[in-house]
Amino acid sequence: MYKKSVIIVIGVVIALSLIGLAFQGFGAKNKGKVSQADKIAIIYVDGVIIGGRGQSSVLMEQGGTDQIIKQIHQARDDGSVKAVVLRINSPGGSAAASQEVGEELKKLRAQGKVVVTSMGDVAASGGYWLAACTDKIYANPTTMTGSIGVYMPYANWEELYKKVGIYQEKIKSGPHKDILSPERQMTDEEREIIQVMVDDIYNQFVDVVAQGRKMDKEQVKKLADGRIYTGNQAKQLGLVDELGNMYDAIDGASQLAGIEGKPTIKEFGKTSPWNMLFGPSEKISTLLEQFLLQKASNQMNLGVPLEATPEKWQVK
């Protein structure tokens, strides 16, 4: 009998909890309808910038610039949104995806909306491309930014395949159809083809920075050797306008948009229950991992630093 009583008590507690949750949800819904005043939208660019719809799972959506572009369009179509703060926490990504978002940001500005960047931990490379397309850039003094440059990763697994015993045959329609294939050494001609492509994209990147930052192209090229800068250094070099956090960026956007008083904030993007539970710490670790991974793969592409190799291996 006491077992039944215990289970009934648990059932009552759960029923009351459900009712409590229902009221809490109702309160939250009402809370969302407070103001129709001028708003500042916050759009988050988190992680590697990659085109498409990203990865979608039950509890969250990650990556994919289609979502970011959709949010930019929502901000554009919302008459109450006077300014957008682009909160960037990204080590970069694909050139095409960055360009796509960058162009949408320019269109947003052309429609009269103020767009201000707030850099988080990292806003490098493709992240900086986006920042360069906005009206004003805020960075923390310790933010890692810059990394203006392009690379194409290429791994040669030829030796591994030989050891494993894999020999891949290909029937090609043209000599360069399998360019960058990992099972063979790249030819000099192919290297030249890729180099021309990399240089072309690099020049486009430099143009975006020069235009966005109102700098001379040659001046940008001096800074654009792929190195990263702290927010502090970037400010001195003219790659960043102000030092400050996201709230400083919101204030800055508010001033540029002529919003009087405290602005109403409208956050775009989803906060999944999973992120709600584990979000901040997971997000930071993932970003750092991504940044370190990207830098590590850069290093791997270039080979081990000369000083780190045994003397007999060094090419004099």
């Binding site: 077992k3 509890l59 990147f205």
Partner: protein, 193 residues
């Protein structure tokens, strides 16, 4: 353990005895009812959680997906684990495992009051409490799943763990092999900034 109330009490407080009895009685209707209660009640909490974070449009999709995936996991989990348990010399029945796995989900309904308590806490503690509650419930359900396999097949804890992780290990091995060799097909790489 005459009725479902006794069974539920025992699942929470005397899981070893409960799982053995449930496996022997093979009362499938009780197993199905408990499983669906354990699925639907947390979904109610999830529904309000999703609305709270502005994901109303995704509610039907997420809830539908959760229901279908949970049921598939229940059916397929029971089938795969039963197969592995038989390979390892277990003498239990698939139906016994299926019903005990349904009962093993019961602690999930306790996530609701725990989340309500968490929602009442200050913002700084809210996330920690919610995460802790989710972890506790996950650990409890996992423990009950191990107990279910142990009692149904009369296995040791280590053997029961092996049954549970064997499919994951198999997926990892296949994934590692695929990751290594499918790389050869990736000839078109995007430019990276």
């Amino acid at each position: 353990m005459g009725n479902v109330f006794d069974a539920l009490y025992d699942v929470l407080f005397q899981p070893k005895i409960a799982m053995k009895m449930i496996a022997e009685q093979k009362n499938i209707s009780q197993g199905v009812i408990v499983f669906f209660l354990s699925l639907v009640i947390p979904l109610w909490a999830l529904y309000f959680g999703l609305q709270d974070v502005g994901m109303s449009a995704m509610v039907p999709f997420i809830i539908g997906f959760k229901i279908i995936s949970s049921m598939l996991m229940w059916f397929m989990g029971a089938a795969v684990w039963h197969l592995i348990a038989e390979f390892l010399g277990g003498r239990g029945t698939g139906l016994g495992l299926f019903i005990t796995l349904g009962f093993a989900q019961f602690p999930q309904i306790l996530i609701v009051p725990l989340w309500v308590i968490a929602a009442l806490l200050p913002a700084s503690l809210k996330s920690i409490m919610m995460a802790a509650a989710a972890l506790i419930i996950f650990a409890w359900t996992f423990f009950l799943t191990i107990t279910a396999i142990k009692e149904v097949y009369e296995f040791s804890t280590a053997k029961a763990m092996l049954v549970i992780i064997a499919p994951v290990l198999a997926i990892l091995v296949v994934g590692a092999i695929a990751f290594t060799f499918i790389g050869s097909a990736m000839t078109q790489m995007p430019m990276w900034l």
